[in-house]
Amino acid sequence: MRITRILQPILLIGALIFSSSCLKDEYTDTTPKGVFRALWKTMDEHYCFFELKSLDWDSIYQVYDSRVDNRMDSETLFYLMADMLSQLRDGHVNLSAAHDISRYWFAGINQPANYSGEVVARYYLGVDYRSAAGMAYKILDDNVGYIRYSSFENGIGAGNLSQVLSHFSLCQGIIIDVRSNGGGSLVNADILASRFTEQPVHYGYMMYKTGKGHHDFSTPTALTLHPYSGLRWKKPVVVLTNRGCYSATNSFVNIMRQLPLVTIMGDKTGGGGGMPFSSELPNGWSIRFSASPMTDANLHSIEQGLEPDIRVTTDSLSLLKGIDTIIESARRHLHLTPGSL
């Protein structure tokens, strides 16, 4: 009897132990139908641009769900879902599997590139350029500074940037070439832009989703650029853009166009005004999507790109001669622009 009185609570505790140790997984349907519906639901609850792009996501579900068959192989399913995602017309939406990553090349694929890496490397940077913090930079022969920054994924150190600007201290102005820069870190965009302003500048807003509904957004948070406390550039700047300027580059252009001595030159940017998040599907495929929309200072979305101040394009004949007409236009503009603040 005494032993029973001891054993009974132990057995009850054991039941508590083993009955409470299993976490229910509600996301286990790995059939093509299950994966498709998980993808649709993830986008339905998290994607932030349905209203901006006038998309009827429910109708899209009806169209594509009827095409999904549980007998289809994974590659067929992948490309069917990629086709569905392309309806969003968003370069920040990617479905990743072991064999491929879906992507939307936006309208830029049918537009002039307005950039030739080979021409820039051979005829402008040459072999005597300097390199720091992901930037290739050089003083051109007309005393104009040229910076080629190809990715905002490259971290920018304060010391590096100060050295670059110091190197250009006697220059008429600076060209910052961010053409075909696909983006990276917003923090790097802020770091670079902060060298070109003398006072705080309000340049836009950012929101986040507060719920699963298509219209559930937070109050916009004001985005402000603060001047760097150390060395800053006070002379004219030209930022070169094309359709390949996306995501953080698009945000950088949005910041820079607010600054008084900065001119945006080239082609319209590619857009990408939604900070992307990631999630996962039951079969292990990864999905990336725009989650936090950003706007300019007038609450206009920057998702679909920004027009330049001066539209200039390259032409194939000039490129064959080693002449980048956008860079040349920027150089002329800097020589004609009044000096520093």
Partner: protein, 284 residues
């Protein structure tokens, strides 16, 4: 062995100590002795965090725990004091097998209990705990939401039962503890907010939420067997910690079931009369 003993004594020095009794007959609190318990364990770990992924991740967790107990009494009652710190780290893999989520958590608590003795050799403790917990989870595949931080301060209802089986050869102590939060505050980002917006911008995103049974529950329990050998007391036990929350439409869950092994150290304090307390007077 001497090095190990010195290390343990150094660790014991960081535990709370109380003033010596100046007058054994006064109403001031007296400490009969402190028990320090060091355990190392591992076990099965399951987790889910909708901020990173809707899938359940399964894996393992290791934990290192220090726990201390002491009794104090005045004329009216006997109180048991508990303090505990745990470091937990592990890794888990998604049900699809394609991604991993390592994690690291630490917690600490202070508990105060009233003691009851319904039958001989059985001590029942009933009381509460102040509990602090924090850490982070990381998913290497994600982009702007690669990590999910956790942190909470809770008031918990707690109870314990300690049963001593005294034999000539091998005294055994069975104990069971259980605690559950009643109310607290936790770090909780809104549904779709990013850490960039919350902490890098001049935003006013609310990231503290009140927790109670309506949006969060947790059970923290341990079952232990202490075997008192001639020179040391060995502890074997099971530890279970289960937590779920649904805050700001983000569901999280952590389920840990593990076993641990360690040892129990009794550090009896000398009273003014230079009398050592016997093992029977200690809680463990």
């Amino acid at each position: 062995m001497n090095h190990i003993l010195c290390f343990l004594l150094l660790l014991c020095c960081i535990s709370p100590t109380y003033s010596q009794d100046r007058n054994p007959d006064s109403s001031q609190l007296q400490i009969n002795g402190a028990t320090h318990i060091f355990t190392l364990g591992m076990g099965d770990y399951q987790q889910k965090d909708d901020y990173l992924s809707p899938l359940v991740y399964q894996g393992y967790q290791l934990h290192l725990q220090y726990e201390g107990w002491a009794l104090s009494h005045n004329r009216s009652n006997r109180l048991a004091h508990q303090w505990r710190a745990t470091i937990m780290a592990g890794n888990s893999i998604s049900t699809s097998g394609y991604s991993q989520e390592p994690h690291l958590y630490i917690d600490g608590l202070y508990g105060l209990y009233t003691t009851l003795h319904p039958i001989r050799h059985l001590t029942i403790l009933v009381g509460g705990q102040a509990y602090l917990w924090g850490g982070a989870l990381y998913n290497s595949r994600n982009t702007n939401n690669p990590a999910s931080a956790s942190g909470s301060l809770e008031l918990r209802a707690a109870a314990a039962a300690i049963y001593k089986i005294s034999t000539k050869r091998l005294p055994v102590t069975l104990s069971y503890q259980i605690a559950t939060p009643i109310a607290g505050a936790t770090f909780a980002l809104p549904y779709g907010a990013s850490y960039y917006e919350a902490f890098m911008l001049e935003s006013h995103i609310p990231y503290v939420a009140f927790t109670s049974f309506h949006n969060s529950w947790m059970v923290d329990h341990q079952l232990s067997v202490d075997l008192s050998f001639q020179r040391c007391t060995l502890r074997l036990g099971y530890i279970g910690r289960y937590r779920e929350s649904d805050i700001n439409q983000i569901q999280t869950a952590q389920y840990y079931s593990g076993f641990h092994i360690g040892f129990v150290v009794h550090l009896a304090q000398l009273t003014r009369k230079n009398r050592l307390n016997t093992h029977a007077n200690l809680l463990y």
